[in-house]
Amino acid sequence: MKFRSVFDVIGPVMIGPSSSHTAGAARIGKMARELFGRKPEWAKIHLYGSFAKTYQGHGTDVALIGGILGFDTYDERIRDARTLAQDENVDIEIIEEDGSSEHPNTARIELGDEESTFELVGISIGGGKAEITELNGFELRLSGSSPAILVMHNDRFGAIASVTNVLADYKINIGHMEVSRREEGKEAMMVIETDEKIPNDVMDQLNDCDHILQVVTISE
């Protein structure tokens, strides 16, 4: 059940012209911005499939850029996102990819600044809904329709328990959770979708847990 709420179908309120190519793209961009956690100095946006073929007409590029600048699907500033990115000194590069992708509406976004870089793959699945399918090389499924925490951690016993114990202490319920790793004993990632927003002090406590490398959150 991908479409759980009636507002997935009657909505979103958005700037035209395409729910999948404009609104969905804006959502992918915004999720990237939230997961990166701050304004990037540069963004490389790779477009695949229908995104690559029709982005000019659909405003997919300005929608993705708008999302990276933190705009919502209904924010009229999306129309001028390219100029606004220049004004904010965010260097944008759009790359049309020839290669195939599993989903026709796919974007790979790289964000970076002096401190770090970050990469995700997002797909726009229709009606303005989007999912993140890959993050820093880890495969995952993240819809952005519930608040979520992403935890990069070392693949060690107890790492998962330490995170879930903190959530339990704060009475935060987990709706969905998945764990993946690159290799046994190396870097791993937890994706935890929760029913309520994650307060800042919970984030601080999670950061202090054993074997935890980085914790980021995404709101609804």
């Binding site: 059940m1 991908k2 479409f3 759980r4 709420s5 009636v6 507002f7 997935d8 179908v9 009657i10 909505g11 979103p12 309120v13 958005m14 700037i15 035209g16 012209p17 395409s18 729910s19 999948s20 190519h21 404009t22 609104a23 499939g49 229908s50 073929k53 029709t54 000019q56 007409g57 659909h58 405003g59 209904y74 009229e76 129309r79 026709p104 509406n105 699945i125 229709g126 009606g127 303005g128 029913d195």
Partner: protein, 295 residues
């Protein structure tokens, strides 16, 4: 989830003696845990956005490409000045659907129902029927919940994306949703709503997504005109007691499989159908320069 398909949706309404919109509202409360009033208010805001898009479009808008705009105004003028063939109510519906999609093409603000490219059908039917049925605000908000219930079933069992399923998944779904909701607003039964959905979608099967220059303009705006008019005719058929020989859920299943077997050229890539006609290519060149139109 209270319902996974149309048959469960109708059954739930019949068993509990409630409307389809009520099933959708209760399902949303259960799913999100939000209070009923909040959910109702949120849908009310979507209704207001839709009304504003219709009004803006009826005043006349033009898209940046110049491919669409102004047709809603033309239709209204025609209705005011002479005797029409299909009747003023039907044309009012059509003009309001067109108005919404013209606003969308002009990068204006709209509410996706279920998508932006198909955003005209639901508000077109709703605001076109308004003078005839004089619904209360609550009934108008309920119209959107009923539309949403059918849209959700299609989205979860087939697709509402043109890139995945062609135009049948977008305007087909939107028109079906609108016809089902029109039946409820006109006082029909839950089963009659399901029949209207089936009849509408059956006549949209196979419809490809072939936008000229990849823009949500040609033929999208006029497909919403036809989608909204089909929604009204199917609603009338269902209210008359006409039923679909193929059950609604099976029609939705057929739509999904047709979408799967559709060539990628006909699924929002602007490589086939109308987009690939000599004029379609010529228009693409005009809008984007030679690179886009030459293939």
């Amino acid at each position: 989830m209270m319902f996974q398909n149309v048959s469960e949706l109708v059954q739930k309404a019949e068993e509990d003696g409630i409307s389809l919109s009520e099933v959708m509202i209760r399902q949303e409360v259960e799913e999100t845990g939000k209070p009923r009033e909040e959910i109702f208010a949120e849908m009310g805001r979507n209704l207001d956005i839709m009304e504003k898009s219709v009004e803006d479009g009826l005043e006349g808008v033009q898209s940046k490409s110049g491919l669409t705009g102004g047709d809603a105004v033309l239709i209204q003028k025609y209705m005011a000045e002479q005797e029409t063939l299909s009747g003023n109510m039907l044309l009012d519906v059509v003009s309001k659907a067109v108005a919404t999609n013209e606003v969308n093409a002009a990068m204006g603000t709209i509410c996706a129902t279920p998508t932006a490219g198909s955003a005209g059908c639901v508000p077109g039917v709703l605001f076109g029927l308004k003078p005839r049925l004089n619904p209360t605000r609550e009934q108008m908000v309920r119209f959107l919940f009923t539309s949403g219930a059918f849209g959700q079933v299609v989205a979860n069992n087939a697709s509402i994306s043109g890139a995945a399923g062609g135009c049948q998944a977008e305007v087909g779904s939107a028109a079906g949703m609108a016809s089902a909701a029109a039946v409820e607003m006109a006082g029909g039964t839950p089963q009659q709503s399901a029949e209207a959905m089936a009849i509408t979608l059956k006549n949209m099967l196979g419809l490809v997504c072939d936008p000229v220059a990849g823009l949500v303009e040609v033929p999208c705006v006029k497909r919403n005109a036809m989608g909204s008019s089909q929604a009204i005719v199917s609603a009338d058929l269902a209210l008359a007691g006409v039923t679909s020989r193929i059950p609604t859920d099976e029609v939705i299943g057929a739509m999904f499989r047709i979408g799967e077997s559709m060539s990628p050229a006909l699924k929002e890539t602007a490589e086939g159908g109308l987009a690939a006609t000599p004029t379609g290519r010529e228009l693409a060149k005009k809008v984007f320069g030679p690179a886009m139109g030459s293939e």
